[in-house]
Amino acid sequence: MNVSPGRSDSRGAILSLPSVIWLVIFFAIPLFIMLGVSLLTRGGNPSDYGTPLTLQNYKDIFTEPLVSTLLRSIRIALQSTIICFVIGYPLAVFISTRQNTLVRQFSLFLVILPFWTNFLVRTYSWQIILGRRGVINEILQNQLGLIDSPLQLINTEGAVLLGLVYGFLPFMVLPIYASVERFNFHMVEAAHDLGANDWYAFWKVMFPMTLPGVVAGWILVFIPAIGAFVTPDLLGGTEGFMVGNLITRQFRDNGGSWPRGSAASIVLMIMVGISLFIYQRFASDESYARAGFTDRINRWLEERHIRIPSLLSSIVFWVLLVGFVVYLFTLNWTQTGTAAAVVTAILVGINIYQRRMERHKTESRSYEINPWSVRRDLWLRRIGKWGLAFNPIFSYFFLWSPIFILVLYSFNASRRAGGRWEGFSTVWYDNIFSGVAGSRSNYSTEEMLEAVETSLIIGVVGTIIATILGTMVSLSLERGVFRGKRWVDGLLYLPIVIPDITMGISLLVFFKVVFDLIENITGSRPFPGIANVAIAHIAFNISFVAIVVRARLTDMNPRYEEAARDLGANEWRTFWRITYPLLLPGIVAGALLAFTLSLDDFVITFFVSGGSVTTLTVFVWGLVKRGVPPEINAISTLMILASTTLVLISSLFQRNASRG
């Protein structure tokens, strides 16, 4: 090729530079500043800090009662991860095994679309469903008469769990879907052929082979779940006090402490780090996960000539696993013990039975089909089939009912934003469209439109910059060869896996420090507003754009570009004539993703804006938190309509783009 390695070096590095600078300044440095603040002592008011250096903030977190909040958050995050997995895996299998491409795309679309509607709105909808006079209680009590007094569903830990599962289920489904899609179902047949029933074929073959997707799903659910503060706040009542709420209070309460809040965020970061380490160990290996975890233990024992009966080892494995899950959900040692005993009994029973069967086994060439085990395996298969058939029905109902309820209740004549159905009415839409907000004008249509405008400005500006930077860094990473590439890679992925709250707080601390500095030097303090928020959005959107564009680039044959250069085009023209047109669908998809994420973001905006910028999500938060106007359902419905339209248009555009 006519590109010398030396030239390609510098070209690659230069394209990375803008993103690297951006991410170092607005992502890495803030994290380090936050780390620094976490080691300082609180001053006269929450945002003051100074010497002496201390580890007291960390000690506080690891002493009662904060440590139990931390542990509870880990527990709830783990629970939601497990539930997401149990629901999400079969759903991903269901979707990826649809033969008809259209059906498959539609099934996937049904999972993603709710995710495109505002997070706050969807969570708020659960308030309507779970309330003491909410939809469920209304049906059970007044329609069906099954209960005398309303069930306490909202303001419980269960509601938090439900909200988290609801919010993060797509994060579990999508990576698993990607893995299962690539999985060759021939492998299952091969396993069957070698005598593995459905249970073994799944756990020994399919599961390990799809483990990278599963682990990615676990991480993508666990990390945001542990840093969540919106869902617990809206659904959990007193039982919704998680680390995220704790951190928020340290930054927003009169007696709070930025150093301690920073320390809590650092603890969150450490947990994220541990998760990533686990991911690295289990899923980064190209030759699939080191699924043979038990195999490795076996080998280790073998090398030392330690023989453990397989019955014992499987009992240990299953008792630990089942015991852990049961304890996680019940926090009750008696039940955990019972579960462990049941597991042991089942395993021993199976073993005894199998021994007896083996004794009857005759010569190897003639064969006996054991009717009992055939029946058992057929039952197993039937259960699996039922599960697989029921799961999508349940999942889609689960994903869509809050949206359905919101739309339905936007036509409820009742003045109360949730609860009882009091007849059909379009009065709330009329109110919105006529700009009148009813008697309690804690919002007005104009105010809402201003919020929309703010969101759009931030979204458009942020998306343009993030898309340009993200595309450049993708090109550099996919096509360039230079030193430090792995560092750029790492830097690029961190903003995705870091909890929103950590990023928001680190930027809050960062801006405060920088503004203090500017004030000290120039004597006047800048008033940031929209710019702060846009900067933060760009910082996380560069990474998302890069992921999408890189995916497209890896699929793209570099021979095209080489051919163009071979035909005499210089690099500039090669890019615009060849790479860019081919890459365009990826760039558009990346930009749309960035735009949606920007519109949807609440947590980072909330912290970074310092109360000075009202985006649409901040506006909705205000409505939900400070007095819900009856128009909220109608507003939410309009938002759903808008985002759905946006998605539909964009997917149409993408289809055309990839065709053309």
Binding site: N100, N184, H186, M187, E189, A190, A191, H192, D193, L194, G195, A196, N197, Y200, A201, K204, V205, P208, M209, S287, Y288, A289, A291, G292, D295, N298, S310, Q354, E358, S364, R365, S366, Y367, I369, N370, S373, V374, D377, L378, R381
Partner: protein, 391 residues
């Protein structure tokens, strides 16, 4: 007398196409009996239903109708993991997250063979396929041939009653394929395991199988030994699919026993063997003659016959026409192709200019006789070599 290992009784498999509007009969009313220890080949063009047949025996597909018996027991309700058959998949389907040894041990683990014993047996199976060196490698780090051997060892270590092989050598290059054909055949003889071997390569089937079933469009057209299939194909399709064949259509004029007189479109009458003596007179029939069973002489000039012996073309023609049961038809060569072992000539014969392929072995040296395109010739064959088939 060996027993029947696998029996298919009128097995049919229908697939419904999209939206269930129409159905495709992938396997159509197939009945087969496969003997114990037999090397049985399923041969047919791609899409004819071979794989589907195999998958029904393995248990991956249910039959739409009909019955499958393994060692006399119906296996309708037996899932694949309880059937005493194992498969070597076309794409090998090796588990990518396991080493060769783990792949081979997998089936034994499922049988709950003790770990140490399983290991020993797996190592032995890998030795059998000459793969002792690669036991701890994962499939991604193995060549196609090695993967193929692992797949074989993985199935064989289970000691199956029947081993199903779905085009196991399809992905290998020619030389390796030939070598493996030989090895497989040897192994099968030694182990005495029944093989059901799916292939679309007729040569492979002919060289390896004890018996062959030729399939087309889901139907079994003919079952027999390689020789029967080659020498006495019952249908035009079989004759065409196995080896190369010239087809000449005509009408059955006269018959006596298996002997028949066929009138060709240009009025010429030739005699041939009737595949089915029950054919009725006046019926449209096809006559099939293998190219290597046809020979030719020039119309003019001389012919080499043995050492330094030459006869004139007229003399040679007279010798031929004097022989009984000899068909001689004039024609013109229009193409000759050198293919190493043979010379392949294409001639147009008779007034209808029927195209016919003739193969003459490349004797070389003094027996060598070459003909040029455009040359007038006579083609001739012995009547027994021409078989009359139904269309």
């Amino acid at each position: 007398m060996p027993g029947i290992d696998v029996e298919l009784k009128s097995v049919t498999k229908e697939f419904s196409t999209r939206r269930g509007e129409t159905t495709v009969k992938a396997v159509d009313n197939v009945s087969l009996q496969i003997m114990d220890g037999e090397f049985f080949a399923l041969l047919g063009p791609s899409g004819c239903g071979k794989t589907t047949t195999l998958r029904m025996i393995a248990g991956f597909e249910n039959t739409s109708s009909g019955e499958i018996l393994i060692r006399g027991k119906p296996v309708q309700d037996v899932p694949p993991f309880h059937r005493p058959v194992n498969t070597v998949f076309q794409d090998y389907a090796l588990f990518p997250h396991m080493t060769a040894l783990q792949n081979v041990m997998f089936g034994l683990e499922m049988e709950r063979v003790p770990r140490q014993e399983a290991r020993d047996r797996a190592v032995k199976a890998l030795e059998l396929v000459q793969l002792s060196a690669a036991v701890n490698r994962k499939p991604a780090a193995m060549s196609g041939g090695q993967q193929q051997r692992v797949a074989l060892a993985r199935a064989l270590v289970k000691n199956p009653t029947v081993l199903l092989l779905d085009e196991p050598l399809g992905a290998l290059d020619l030389k390796l394929r030939k070598a493996m054909q030989y090895e497989l055949k040897e192994m099968q003889k030694r182990l005495g395991i029944t093989f059901i071997y799916v292939t679309h390569d007729q040569e492979e089937a002919l060289t390896m199988a004890d018996r062959i079933a030729v399939m087309d469009h889901g139907k079994v057209l003919q079952v027999g030994t390689p020789e029967e299939i080659y020498e006495k194909p019952h249908t035009r399709f079989v004759a065409d699919f196995i080896g190369e064949t010239n087809f000449i259509t005509g009408t059955l004029k006269e018959k006596s026993g298996t002997q028949g007189q066929i009138e060709l479109p240009d009025g010429l009458c030739v005699s041939a063997i009737l595949d089915d003596p029950a054919m009725s007179l006046g019926q449209k029939v096809t006559m099939a003659i293998r190219p290597e069973k046809i020979s030719l002489i020039p119309k003019t000039g001389t012919i080499k016959r043995g050492d330094h012996q030459e006869v004139s073309a007229e003399q040679a023609l007279a010798d031929l026409t004097n022989q009984p049961n000899m068909v001689v038809i004039p024609g013109v060569l229009w193409n000759s192709i050198y293919i190493g072992t043979d010379m392949r000539y294409i001639a147009e014969i008779g007034e209808t200019k029927q195209e016919i392929v003739v193969r003459i072995q490349n004797f070389g040296g003094r027996f060598d006789q070459r003909y040029e395109p455009g040359q007038s010739i006579y083609v001739y064959w012995v009547t027994e070599n021409a078989r009359v088939l139904l269309d």
